[in-house]
């Protein structure tokens, strides 16, 4: 009776808690073995939160969603945020299409890029701190900087946007996706055999899923390996999953980390992929692009952008966005777009001229790429001379021009899934699909490195030295000639003469 009394008292003391909006965390890792023997690993961590940051009542209780990002979203009324840090350039022809494309350097939405940002552990550390489990449990334990940055390509990104909660889409929830895309090079890691394991890639194995995650899965792409003739996967798993991603139906072996049985008797999962044969062709990507600077000298130049449409009979539209810094003065009257040797007039051109030291050029064009062709976009430019205080400390390195962004709706060989709310792996639900016959793809070209005419920074020092020397020697000599008086001085007599002079002085006789 007493105990019940106390219990009731305790219950009334606890303030009535309002049900918190539902939040959910999922993590997954997709590993795709590439034909050259390299491995493409893509991590995705997604937090979904059914709340509204734009309401007047401020959100105060954060559980899985990081508070620092939540405060930024509500203070600045952000609707969508995409920021990525990338080291290296994605080689579409060798590696296929990435799940999440990103340009080299730092990128914010589509328009703001810093091509020269170097990504290192100091960028990864605060990124890892945004995850609910940090880097202590789940898939994030594999993110060790010493192995991760020893790769051909590394990209980490944060994407925040609103998504529909259900198919009716009357309410939205906030989605935060943190992604890491990395390509590990076979030769770089110093391996003799063509064999990969989680330990070799990340210097860690998996021991448990993140306790806060509702789903934690590891997918291996085995589409090119239906009978196990290309590579061998161990430990074997019976779970298979199919998904349509990037216009192709792919099959995956699935390891569910929330199940105890995945880890086996040793309580740790060290996946092993052993290559057996070198044959097999990679599917050629339907769209890829290149960009380079032509010309000679430090005055003028030409930017060439090439876009390849590898589809045998379908043409598709492509939106090309170029943001060129103001110090490359583009001559838009020399802009030409040619496909298969003939002129190809873009359906839409939008150009915003640059303003010196204020904003860059913005050129956006919608071009229809004919089937099985190369489209070349060329524009001439002139290099500007900067003021001497505007040069960075290492101007002879060159100046970077950010990547062009090419967005396109590429025809798909397989029917794409337009139902955006069905349970799907995270990597196949990044870009929502509106129609079944094509899928959205975005590729980035290489950034350019151009040399601007650089002055000789030692010139002011040289001029000062020379002028001061001339003035000192010239004026100094003149001053001496005018103001000094000259006297004849007897040379110092020898010792014998000096003694003789002393004796003569004593005698009172004039000296020698």
């Amino acid at each position: 009776m007493e105990a019940a009394h106390w219990l009731v008292l305790l219950m009334t003391l606890v303030p009535s808690s309002v049900p918190q909006p539902k939040d959910d965390f999922q993590e997954e890792l997709v590993i795709r073995p590439l034909h050259s023997g390299d491995i493409y690993a893509s991590f995705q961590f997604r937090t979904l939160w059914d709340t509204d940051f734009m309401r007047e009542n401020k959100v105060s209780h954060y559980r899985l969603f990081p508070k620092s990002l939540g405060q930024v979203i509500s203070k600045f009324s952000v609707r969508e945020l995409h920021i990525s840090f990338t080291q290296g350039y994605w080689r579409t022809m060798q590696w296929g299409q990435p799940f999440i494309p990103s340009p080299p350097g730092a990128d914010f939405l589509r328009y703001a890029t810093l091509p020269r940002e170097i990504v290192c552990t100091e960028n990864l550390t605060p990124w890892k701190k945004l995850l609910p489990c940090g880097s202590k449990a789940g898939l994030a334990v594999l993110l060790k900087s010493e192995k991760l940055f020893h790769s051909s390509f590394h990209s980490q990104a944060v994407h925040i946007r609103s998504v529909c909660q259900d198919w009716q889409c009357k309410t939205t929830s906030w989605e935060l996706r943190q992604t890491v895309n990395s390509v590990f090079d076979l030769h770089n890691s110093g391996q003799a055999k063509r064999e990969w394991s989680l330990f070799k890639m990340f210097s860690r194995t998996l021991t448990e899923a993140c306790p806060l995650a509702s789903s934690s899965k590891l997918y291996i792409d085995i589409t090119d390996n239906p009978q196990g003739e290309q590579f061998e996967l161990s430990p074997a798993t019976s779970l298979l999953s199919q998904a349509v991603v990037l216009g192709d139906r792919r099959t995956f072996s699935v390891y569910d980390l929330t199940q105890e049985t995945t880890f086996g008797s040793v309580r740790s999962l060290n996946l092993l992929i052993r290559w057996k044969s070198n044959e097999g062709e990679m599917l050629r990507p339907l769209l890829h692009a290149e960009r380079y600077v032509a010309g000679y000298g430090l005055q003028t130049g030409e930017i060439h952008t090439l876009m390849y449409n590898n589809h045998p009979y379908r043409s598709f539209p492509v939106l090309l966005l170029d943001s060129v810094p103001w110090y490359l003065r583009l001559y838009i009257h020399t802009l030409s777009v040619t496909s298969k040797g003939k002129d190809n007039k873009p359906s839409y051109i939008h150009y915003e001229p640059s303003k010196d030291r204020v904003k860059p050029h913005l050129l956006e064009m919608l071009i229809q790429l004919p089937p099985n062709s190369v489209t070349e976009v060329t524009v001439q430019f002139e290099r500007a001379l900067l003021k001497w205080t505007e040069y960075p400390p290492d101007p002879n390195h060159g100046f970077y021009v950010g990547s062009s962004v090419i967005s396109s709706l590429v025809p798909s060989t397989v029917a794409m899934d337009t139902n955006s709310t069905r349970e799907r792996p995270l990597f196949s639900s990044f870009f929502p699909c509106k129609e079944e016959s094509s899928y959205f793809v975005r590729i980035y070209t290489e950034p350019l490195l151009v040399n601007l005419p650089t002055p000789d920074f030692s010139m002011p020092y040289n001029v000062i030295c020379l002028t001061c020397t001339v003035v000192a020697v010239g004026y100094g000599s003149l001053y001496n000639l005018l103001t000094r008086s000259f006297q004849i001085e007897e040379p110092n007599p020898g010792l014998a003469k000096r003694i003789a002079n002393v004796i003569r002085k004593m005698r009172g006789v004039p000296p020698l």
Partner: protein
């Protein structure tokens, strides 16, 4: 008991109105003598400003110097929020580094001073003389984030460490500009007048480093340098795999000395002055203590390099403030959300092609205004006669 201990430690680390109430309550309970002993060292928080001013791969050792001091300072308790780390170039992920994401301080790659948990506040081109002086004096634009500010007060002990290439009276920043010893002394005087420090320890590891502290004139500054005027500071040893010199001698021996310090150690400044004698360093390290009020023998190393909290145990109970009531959630609106959302089209081709051109502002045709005025004048003179012309001209 343990809860009270934790409360004490937390109370110092997070300024919070509720918790400061607890401190004041607590202090009044303890006797007056121990309260005086509590604050005998004079400082309540520690800050560190660590600057590497050199760019380019062959200046790897300067980054390694700064990172090893960063490592020691973090290990002894100063959190990242109280450290302003400025590195002028990136060595760890530099394409010439055979082991990416590492910076080593000793050959045979024994100690990776870059580590796994490093936060750099100013990197690359941001490390300039202007930014450095702005950080010291606190005159930063309002949009600067907290991690890039030195938010010290008059009870802060600040450690300032500079390394790079220097000469007699100047320190070179990134091979393009210099800071002179006069500017530095004036910056410290500004800090003193704004009450931005309690005590300041200034360490510099460059050639002719002693020239940089010659001009200081503000009180409570202690300075150490790796070499005297006219001497060069030398580097320690190269690593054949990495291909560059890994560290400078003075900082290398100072790191060895600091590795033996732990948060509870009682080593004082006199031991730090003895680090790296001429036999090891080849140059003669110097120090300056005339501006410092306390005797260097009574100053602990952890007063500057660590962030040691004083903890007092108490047996008395403390009344906390009333429990925080959860805010009443506004009742959900009765009316249903009529609006239906949908995803925007990623590439709306037809919309782009059939866009209406933007409305430009309408301007009258060229010469129109001039023609209009000519017409008005002609009509005027026709009506009133040409004789009026001479009144105008």
């Amino acid at each position: 008991m343990l809860a009270l201990l934790m409360l004490n430690i937390l109370a110092y680390m997070t300024p919070n109105p509720d918790k400061t109430q607890i401190i004041i309550h607590l202090l009044s309970v303890i006797s007056q003598n121990s309260a005086g002993q509590f604050f005998s060292s004079g400082h309540t928080n520690n800050w560190a400003v660590l600057v590497c001013t050199s760019r380019f791969w062959f200046n790897y050792r300067h980054v390694a110097n700064t990172l090893s001091v960063y490592r020691s300072v973090k290990r002894l308790g100063i959190p990242d929020s109280h450290i302003v780390l400025m590195l002028a170039d990136d060595m760890a992920c530099n394409h010439r580094n055979p082991k990416p994401a590492t910076v080593f301080s000793h050959k045979n790659m024994e100690l990776n001073v870059y580590g796994d948990d490093v936060e750099v506040d100013y990197r690359g081109y941001e490390v300039t003389v202007e930014n450095f002086l702005r950080v010291l004096t606190g005159r930063l634009p309002p949009s600067t984030p907290r991690s890039k500010r030195l938010l010290s007060d008059d009870r802060s002990n600040i450690l300032i460490y500079l390394t790079g290439h220097g000469g007699n009276g100047f320190l070179k920043f990134q091979d393009s500009e210099e800071i002179s010893n006069v500017e530095l002394a004036d910056a410290f005087e500004q800090m003193w007048q704004k009450r931005r420090y309690n005590e300041l320890l200034f360490i510099i590891d460059t050639c002719q480093g002693a020239s940089m502290y010659e001009r200081f004139y503000s009180p409570n500054i202690m300075a150490l340098a790796s070499s005297q005027v006219g001497e060069d500071s030398l580097s320690h040893q190269p690593d054949l795999a990495i291909g560059v010199h890994l560290m400078d001698r003075y900082t290398f021996y100072m790191l060895e000395f600091l590795e033996d310090i732990h948060p509870a150690s009682k080593t004082n400044m006199n031991d730090l002055f003895k680090v790296c004698p001429k036999s090891q360093c080849v140059s003669t390290p110097g120090h300056r203590t005339d501006l410092f009020l306390r005797d260097p023998g009574s100053v602990l190393i952890t007063d500057f390099f660590g962030s040691v909290r004083k903890v007092e145990l108490t047996m008395d109970a403390i009344n906390l403030t009333d429990p925080i009531k959860q805010m009443e959630e506004n009742p959900v609106n009765g009316e249903e959300q009529k609006e239906v959302y949908s995803y925007a089209d990623q590439l709306p081709v037809s919309e782009i092609i059939h866009q209406k051109p933007k409305q430009k502002d309408w301007h009258p045709p060229d010469g129109f205004i001039l023609g209009l005025w000519t017409l008005i004048l002609l009509v005027f003179f026709k009506t009133y006669g040409i004789k009026h012309l001479k009144h105008i001209f």
